[in-house]
Every structure is written in structure tokens, then in C-alpha cells.
Amino acid sequence: MEVMRRVTIFVDGRPHSVLDDQNLLQACLSAGLDLPYFCWHPALGSVGACRQCAVKLFRDASDRRGRIVMACMTPAADSTRISIDDAEAREFRARVIEWLMINHPHDCPVCDEGGECHLQDMTVMTGHVRRRYRGLKRTFENQDLGPFINHEMNRCIQCYRCVRFYRDFAGDRDFDAFSLRNQVYFGRQQDGTLESEFSGNLVEVCPTGVFTDKSFKEHYTRKWDLQTAPSICVHCGLGCNTIPGERYGLLRRIRNRYNGEVNGYFLCDRGRYGYGFVNGAQRIRAPLLRRELGGPAAPVERQEALARIAAWMADGARVVAIGSPRASLEANFALRALVGPAHFYGGMSAAESRLTALIAQILQRGPAPAASLQEAAEADAVLVLGEDVTNSAPMLALSLRQAVRRQPMAAARGIPPWDDHAMRQVTQGQRGPLFLATLAATRLEDVARETLRAAPADIARLGFAVAHALDADAPSADVDAPAHALAGRIAAALLAAGQPLVVAGMSCGSEDMIRAAADVAWALRRAGRPARLAFVVPECDSLGAALMTDRNPGLPQDGADLLLVMENDLYRRADTDTVDSLLGSARHVVLIDHTAHATAAAADAVLPAATFAEATGTLVNNEGRAQRYFRVFAAAGDVQESWRWIHDIAAAAGRTRDAPWTRLDDVTAACATAIPPLRRIVEAAPGAAFRIAGQKIPREPPRYSGRTAMHAQVDVDEPKPPDDPDTPLAFSMEGYAGRPPSPLIPYFWSPGWNSVQAVNKFQEEIAGPLAGGDPGVRLMAPSSGTAPPAYFREVPPAFARRDGHWLAVPLHHIFGSDELSTRSPPVASLAAQPYAALNPDDAAELGLNGGDLLHVQLRGISHRLPLRFEPALPKGLLGLPAGMDGLAGIPLPDWVRVAKAEAP
């Protein structure tokens, strides 16, 4: 790591201490000064296009004339003297706005970007108020860009941020700048859904309203009328920080919440658009009870439901509980406490339990620590074993796209990293080492140095071979000559790197792969390299669940007298027969969940749980970072947090002492005390008693409108806002108006900064950590001095085809493999449909043609699936879409038989 130096620059005569690796714009913003800009973006760097950040630069203290320069293109060298306030610079900046506004629609009061528009803010900042241009505005036709993004080109100010994010940063090609002069068009060659998995970021990257959130438009409200809270994405294991927004009981959008160590400025489209399940028709909103065997479950009063459940628990009934890796630590802990650790199951499949436990063990043991997304982006050599990260942990793919630029950038002498086009000119698309070993083709291959597509065992063997090439003491994999050579090249590249990273995970269901990754990282550590590990886990609390459950892997064998299931569809955890038999063996089944699914249909009683948006809790992401998410809004009716239902059940059953908590802090504290690896989760965010100047932090911005009228059709008296005993946040626009601690920031806003760019005002340094440190606490921070443990030594045998059988492997889909986001309409509209994928050569051997239907025998059940050719899939493998209803519970990899099915 380079040590950053602080230098002094003089702005309008006043000294400011700034980091010397910045440009003047960044330095001024870091110093808290206001200087308008458009084309510069902290994550995208400078290109000098918009000319908005003009300042006066002086040669020295005696220079009175100075000259106009663009702050974003000028390094913040020591003793630099500039003026923001200089009359000529001010005039020029106002002129730039005037030029931009020549063609920009003057419809701010009715524009859907208004009030959150960087262009609007900058226009006000420069003081441009009067229109002098008398001509017509140029107009464009808009495109249908798919279900995520609305296109309104007339608003464009040609800052080029969109195309720079889309092509240069995210690496996709189906979006570009077309034409020239004042007619530059940013879009696709023709209408069509944007191909990037990160297209939603255009909404936040665009400084005005060219690209807006189409899902938000479906239930639009003024941005300042949204009630928001700091939250965590629940759609994969990375734990990206989000800001969901609600009004009138409807969750209306998700926005990025900056966390310098995790997701930075961006989100993936699954995370941004997956929220629809919160408002979905499948929501469980009232307690349901099945009054007679085989009859339907019908809504009942909560007391009746609780009384019935209490009765089922009475008289020494055997109670078994199943938690969930998609529920909060607190919910899982409360459930565990209610039934006792001996009867608590984490809610993962047997395979998931094994894999998460192994990952937790490796990360806890050290010395190779987990990599955050930011650390992954800074890695300068990467080996990926088995993960199609674009689909299984999308934001990690975005990080790896940046990682491949590290080595060429480090070699580009004399060009500062922020000088984006110059850097790209000098580095010319050269890439550092990224090696991908995956089951099939992936979307990162365009930036990979080498790619291997292989069966899970062979991927693991490659990993072991790399470890052996790094350290002869590591077990020998005895791979074939090409793999041996490849392993040698990988080992050499990792060894030559300053920050090597090994990525693996649970997608392939292979413990061997995880062990191989650990061996590689440990071999690098033995060689003195600061190797890190990034393990991909499937769910938002997979690792938290792993740290909590130390006793019972997988699902219980029988359901006992009462089976309590929480936030879990068991049909996604095991095959249908197994789950049928488990549920059938229980005398009574109670489900606490927010969304209906197959398990809900089988339950005798269902209690309506709060989603992430209606609850507060703690989640542990794939790097072991405990992060708190906060209730965005108070759910209507009987919907409440799962841990409160557990408390209520305990109370109804006369066992309050088993789950005595009525405030979240108490559950969190009890959990931290009871489970040593979770000791520090209380530090994830300040507790409910936290106050600033005696005040809570408002979830509603100061501009929130209509408060007194919102319920006027019911009662002209303004109702008391809901209480929130669990957090220092208030369901109100009243409270502390300043900058809260980083885990408690409900929205980024600062006077004059109404757009997402307001985050500038919350950071210690621009693009650095949030003031006071980024939110979250890492639970697993092994000392880097720890000696590496003994290598994993069991190298699996090479993959061998079996006559008449195929090894079914899971293929992951950003849209379709995740349970909850698939219930969001825009995501559902893009979700992959079930299929069975074969190498075309294998298909030919079977006499199959494109479009044929296949019978795939999985755990005794025949699934009829359309054939898909997957030329990159190794022969002998059969690809099945991971996580889809009907297939999700089948443990893969598994050997299957395949036959051609007759068309129905």
C-alpha cells in the first residue's frame, strides 16, 4: 500500500490540508468546500468534459491574474493556490450551467428527478437563473431499455458519466454514445433490455433524470416524501448497504447507501429491483390457522392463533425449530432460545450447513482473512474457483473488473489514477492476472487472463495444484499436464502480486473447492504474501447462521409434536419427499414468515413476519461483517418481527423466561453473550438508547410533506407516529438535523445537496470512509501473524464420466436463483426459466435437438425440462438452474439419468 501524503493547498487564500493523490476538485470537496461538477464521479475519475469545476489557478502568491483550469484535471500538489470565488471563474461556471440549460427541459416542478437532481443543485449553486437563449431545444426519441430503466434523453446534459460507468467501469458493450455536437445520444443501438447486471446504477450515476428507476415510476412519489432508513440488501451474501424508501405503506424503491468498505457507490440490479416481494401479492399479512385437517388456513385474530400454538406446545410437547439464513441473527437466536440449542436447526440444507461451517472455520482460523468488496477491487491478482460471481455475488464481479486494472495502473508511471482517460489511454485495456475456473461460461471471461471450464472435482484439483506449485508441502493433486502448466502460471501470477485474492464459495456445492482455495491462500501466506479469501455464500445471513448453529447441521429427521419454522421455505432446503415426510411427521407445523410458499401451504398456523423493510436486525455477510438494518416503516396490522412472534408464543405458552425480550437491543445483547463468535455484534450500530442532543434521528427528511394530511380521510387529527423501541431512529421528520453516526444515516442530504451526491458531505475523504468509519463490524479478524494451519490434504479424484449418467450441477442466475427477488415483478420478468443444459456434443450423442424436452431423474422424481445447449459446459455435466422453484431443494451436484421426453 502506498502511504498517502498530506499537502497544503490554498483556496481563496485559506490553507487546507488535503491528500496529495487527489485532483483539486476532490480535494476541495474533501475539504468541505462547494464546487459544482458533473462529469467527474468519485468512482469513475476525471475526464474534463463538462468544464463545470473551473477554478482560477495562480502560479504563486504574487500571481494576481491566474488562469482558468478545470479543478478535476489538476493535481492537488503542495502549495497549489486556487480561487473558487474568483469572479471570472464564477462567471464561467454560471455560463457552463447556462449552456447546459439551453436544451434541458424547464419542467423541474413536475419532473420526476426534481428535488433529487444534481443538475438542479448545481444550477442553484452557480446562481444561473435567467434564460437568455431564445431558440428551440433539441429533442430526442427515447428507448425502451427494459424493466429497470426509464429513458428520457431530452434531459441529457452530455456529461458522459452513463457511458463511462456502463462500458468502462462495468464492462458491458450494448450501450454507447452516438452522434455528435449537441446531439450526442446515450443509449442502445436499438430498443431492448440493457444487458448489464448493474444497469440500475445509471439512475444514480446520471446527474439528472435521463435514466430513472422504472420500478419506482410504477408507484412514484416525490423523493423527499419517502421515509427511509439504513438497510442491508437481502438478496445475496455480500451485504450491500441500501436505502429503501417507503410512503403510504408501500416500499417504493431501493437506493445505494455508500459504504466505503462494502459496496461503495453501486448496487447490482437484483439488489436494487428485488424489493417487490415486500409489496407482493404473496405477502402474509395476517395470522392464518387451519381449523380442520386438510382444510384451508384462514385468517384469525392473533390471540386465537397464539393460543392455539401455545396449546400445541403445552404438556411437555416435543418442539423442534428451524431457523433461516435469510432471517436476522436476533430472530434465529430467539427461536434457538425458545426451543433450546439441542432442538434448534439453522435452516440450511445438510450441504449448506457443511459448507458454511467450513467457510466460517477457515475465516476464523486465519491467517488469510476475508476480503471486503473494496479489498477485492484492490487485489492485483485473482484466482476464482468455481464461482460465476456475476450471477452468485454480482457486486463481487464489479469489484473484480476493477481489480484487473491494478497491475497496469501501477505500471503507468506519471499518470494519476483519477485521470481516467489518460490512464485508460496508457493502460490500453491491459489487464492484470484474473484466472477463472468455472463450470461453464461466465460474464467475467472478457477480462480474464485464462479460463478453465471443468467439473467441480477438477476445479478443486486445479486449486490444490496451484497450492502445491506455491508450496511443495501442500498436497499434490497430480493433475494432467495442461492443468499442471496452468496451475504453474496461476501460482506464479499470485506469487508476483502485492495483494493476491482467492475467490471460491458454495455455488458448486463442493467442500473440496473451498479447501483448495484455503490451501492456495495459506500457501501464499507461507510465502509471505498478504493473500485474502473471498467466499461467496448464498444468503444474507448464511455466515451468521453458520456462526450460530454449532450443533445440528441440515434439517431435523422428524418434526416432533410441534415444528416451528421461521422465514424459511423448507422445499428449497431438501427434496420434496424429504420435506413432505418431515412436515408429515410433525403433529403441528407453525410457520413465521412474510411471503407465502410451499411450506406455508403445509403449515397449520402461519404468523405474519416483517420483511427487512419492516424490521430491525443484524446480518452477517460473506466476510463476517455484522451489519444492522433498520425498519424503514411500521408494517400495518399484525405483521411484526419474527423474534417478537417468538416472544409472543413464549408468553402465550407461559414460557416468557425462554424468550423474555421486548426490545431488540436485549435480544442482540443476549445473542452476543451466548454465542462467542457473535460477541461483537452489538457494535454494529448504536443501540436504541442512543441520542444526539437528546434527540432521535428522523427517518423523514426535513422536506417531507403532507404529514398532517396523509390520514385526513380517516381522522383530521394527525396520528401519533409509531413508536420505535428498537432503534435511535424516529418515524418522523423531527429530531436531530445534523450528521448521524455512519450506521444510522437514513438518507444522504445536506443543504444545497439534494441528490445522491450529498454523500460527499458524509465522507472523511471523498471516496474514502464515511465520517467516523464505515458501518459494520468484522466478527472474524484473524491476526495476520497467525501461522497458517496444516493444509487440507484430501484431494478429490479427477472427474470421470459415468455411462448413462450425467453429473447435474447448478448454474446460477442473477435473476431467478434468489428466492425473494424473483417475486419482484421487474426481476421476475427477466428471470431465467427452468432448463437442462448439455454440451452440444453430449446432446448429439443422445440424439437430442434444440428445443427438445428432457426427462431428468432427480432423487426419484422425473423433471421435464427444455434442453439448452451450453457449448462451454464440459462433457458429462448437466447444468440445472440454481434456486428455481421445483428444483431449489435438490442437492447438487448429483448423478442423474436423462432421457428425451415426448412433447406433451
Binding site: L180, R181, N182
Partner: protein, 423 residues
């Protein structure tokens, strides 16, 4: 008077074939250069004081010395001939391209040898179809003659040379935009640094020289720096292709000693103004240079003298304004061109030029208001050097700022008359 550049060019005749070119002494300079070290060639051209004929007037030999040399230099290195002549009023390179393509090739091969380039491109304006035909023919002949290829004339030095016909944008005259276009990217100018000699085409060391500049190189190598210096009338050496267009008796193009005064060009070579019209001003070096007026007619047309007079020599091809032509209309036409040709990258250019064009149209069509003149003046300042990303918009402001100075009355007359008084 020597006319080395045009000695083989006869109007209406096909260009010399390789053999004809050789018979006239062609490719002897190349043979001579190949016997020198690259550094010696660089020095000889530098000593001649040859300045870039594309308009900027930078010392050519000095430009070459910026290219990394030796075994550690990044490879491949490139030489590019900028034949994207799109400056309104300029048609000098066209004559050289169409009339004596081997002269350009010889200049390029020598220049490429001097910087040890591995590959050379001619970036040709799309509309120059005839030039493209002649160049293709000449390249094929040069290959046959052993002047191109892996081992040129047994020297061990090799060069590939390709003709690239541009899609046609004024912007491509800017060398970094040209390189982007050559790479298949949008023709936007690049951030500098890095400069092309260090990181140019595909990130490799690259020199971009104008056609006329390169055509001078064989003669300098063959005849020496002193001969070249002696060709000019003043401190700038060599000959220059001067053009005159407008309502003159004999619009045309002449190779004359560098530093020939404007009056001589206008009155002797172009035959003076047509009958019935009188001289009002001229743009000395194409559309992106400041007006000069009658008081400047004795200014020698060399880089420094024209600059002292408040304009730029540019391409050396003047456009003459007469008293029967509306200067506002002329400027509107020019600014229309520049606004059209803005690449759309930086705001002052893509938006400011469109506004400037609009205001000039308003003056012509009677929609203008008095404050528009202040706006136009403000734009000549606001679109100045340093405010924009490249030199396109500042160039576009040069005729406008001087037009507002010298022809202020015409602008005011447009306001008073509610439109163009010439219409």
C-alpha cells in the same frame, strides 16, 4: 524560384508513377537517409527549422525527438500522416496527395526511419477519393520498388504503410482525435498528458505530421538545412503552399517562398479582386484564424509575422472577404461548420457554438436583439483557450472575435435593418 514540393505536379495530369518519380530524382533522399543514423536524420530536419504545416507551426524535427528511441523503446512505434484536410478554405494537401503521392510516401518513410517507426498510416479525408486512388497505387508501387516492407533497400529497416480513409470529421484534424478515430473509437480529443510521442496510437509512441510537412522532408534530407532555410524570405525556411479563395480574379494555390507577403499573394498571384468588388479582409490560414484587414496586407505570411499581426498562419490558405459579401453571413456559415463539427465532448464547444450559430442566424434573419452582440463577444472570450477541452472552439472564435472588431458596423446594421442588408 525553387518549387520543390510541386515540381512534379502539373495541373490536369496524372501523378508521376514510381519510375517517373525516380527519374526526377525521387527516392534518392530515402537512400541517403538510410545511410544516416535515425538521429542524424532527426537532426538534419530539426536544423532546417521546418515547422508543422498543419497550422500549429511546431518544429518538426523537435517533435520527432520526443519519441523514445533505442532498444528499450515501446514497440510498435507509429508514424501517421494527417491527410484529413477539412479546414474550410484549405486544399493544399489535396494537391500534394493527388499530384505527387510518392513524394509523401518518401517523406513518410524517411520520417518513420528517423523515429524508427514500425508502421505508418495515412489518415485521409473521406472526400479525397482521387487522392485515395493515387495513394493506393503509389503504395503498391513503393512496395514493388522495395521502398516499403520488411527490409527497405537492404538497409535492414522495415516499415508497413497503410492508407486509412477516414469517415470524415473536421475533429480528426486534431491529432489525438485522429488517433482515436484510427483506433475505431469516437473521434474525441484525448487528455494530455500523455502526449502521442509517449502514448499515441494503441498506447504506443506515435508521431503525427501534416502532409505538406512530410513532403518537405525528402528535400531537406537531399539538399540540407541551409538550402531549406534559404528558400524562405524571412526567418522561417522553406516554401509554402499558399492558397487564395474568395472573389479574386484567379483563386488558386501556389508554392512560394515562406514569408511571401499577403499583398503579393492577393495581387500578383490571385490577380487582385474581381472587377466591381473591393477587398475588406482575409482569413490568412483557413476558417479558424483571425481576420486581417487592409492595414495588414504587407505582413509576410510566415508563422511569427502573422501571429504578430494578431492572427495565425494556419494552413496558409487564405479566404478573402470582399465588400459585396456580408461578413455576418460569412461568419454564420463558418460557425455553422464549427458547431456541426463539434465532437460533443466539452460543454462550451457543443453548446456554446450552437448558440453562437443561432445568434448569427438571428442577426441574418432579423430576430436578433442588441444584447446578442454582447453575448457573441462574451462567447469569443468564454470559448477561449484553456476553457475548452481542445482547440476547436477557440479556433472557431478567432474569425468571430476579429470579425466583431473589424466589421462591428455590419453587425449593428443587421440589428438596425432587422436582418441582413445584403439580402
Amino acid at each position: 524560384m525553387e518549387t520543390p514540393l510541386t515540381r512534379n505536379i502539373l495541373p490536369g495530369r496524372e501523378p508521376p508513377t514510381r519510375r517517373a518519380y525516380e527519374r526526377s530524382g525521387g527516392y534518392t533522399a530515402l537512400r541517403q537517409a538510410l545511410r544516416m543514423t535515425p538521429q542524424e536524420v532527426q537532426k538534419r530536419v530539426k536544423d532546417s527549422g521546418l515547422r508543422g504545416r498543419g497550422g500549429a507551426g511546431f518544429i518538426t524535427g523537435l517533435k520527432w525527438t520526443f519519441v523514445p528511441m533505442g532498444d528499450d523503446a515501446p514497440r510498435p512505434k507509429y508514424l501517421v500522416a494527417n491527410a484529413d484536410e477539412m479546414e474550410p478554405g484549405s486544399f493544399k494537401d489535396r494537391l500534394l496527395l493527388e499530384g505527387d503521392p510518392h513524394q509523401l510516401l518518401e517523406g513518410m518513410i524517411i520520417a518513420a526511419y528517423a523515429i524508427q517507426a514500425d508502421m505508418a498510416f495515412i489518415f485521409l479525408r473521406w472526400a479525397y477519393r482521387r487522392a485515395a486512388r493515387h495513394l493506393e497505387q503509389a503504395i503498391a508501387e513503393a512496395c514493388e520498388g522495395g521502398y516499403l516492407g520488411s527490409d527497405i533497400l537492404g538497409s535492414g529497416y522495415g516499415l508497413d504503410l497503410h492508407l486509412h480513409v477516414s469517415a470524415g470529421r473536421y475533429m480528426c484534424g486534431e491529432e489525438t482525435a485522429l488517433l482515436n478515430a484510427l483506433e475505431g473509437r469516437r473521434a474525441n480529443p484525448r487528455s494530455k498528458p500523455p502526449f502521442p510521442p509517449v502514448s499515441g496510437l494503441f498506447g504506443k509512441p506515435t508521431t503525427v505530421n501534416n502532409v505538406e510537412t512530410l513532403c518537405n522532408v525528402p528535400h531537406i534530407v537531399a539538399n540540407g538545412p541551409d538550402w531549406f532555410k534559404g528558400l524562405g524570405r524571412g526567418s522561417d525556411g522553406g516554401t509554402k503552399l499558399y492558397g487564395v479563395s474568395g472573389k479574386v480574379k484567379r483563386p488558386g494555390l501556389w508554392e512560394l517562398p515562406m514569408g511571401t507577403p499577403a499583398r503579393e499573394l492577393l495581387e500578383e498571384h490571385a490577380g487582385g479582386m474581381r472587377d466591381g468588388v473591393r477587398f475588406r479582409g482575409l482569413l490568412p490560414g483557413g476558417a479558424s484564424t483571425d481576420f486581417l484587414v487592409a492595414e495588414h496586407l504587407d505582413v509576410p505570411m510566415d508563422f511569427d509575422s502573422v501571429q504578430k499581426a494578431g492572427s495565425r498562419l494556419g494552413t496558409g490558405t487564405m479566404i478573402v472577404l470582399d465588400d459585396q459579401t456580408c461578413p455576418v453571413g460569412m461568419l454564420r456559415n463558418l460557425e455553422h461548420f464549427f458547431a456541426q463539427e463539434s465532437c460533443g465532448w466539452c460543454t462550451p464547444c457543443w453548446s456554446g457554438l450552437a448558440w453562437v450559430e443561432r445568434m448569427l442566424a438571428d442577426l441574418e434573419e432579423g430576430r436578433a436583439r442588441p444584447e446578442d452582440l454582447e453575448q457573441l463577444e462574451a462567447h469569443t472570450r468564454l470559448l477561449g483557450p484553456g476553457h475548452t477541452f481542445c482547440a476547436l472552439a477557440p479556433g472557431a472564435m478567432e474569425p468571430l472575435q476579429s470579425g466583431l472588431k473589424y466589421f462591428r458596423g455590419d453587425f449593428e446594421e443587421h440589428l438596425r435593418a432587422g436582418g441582413c442588408p445584403w439580402k
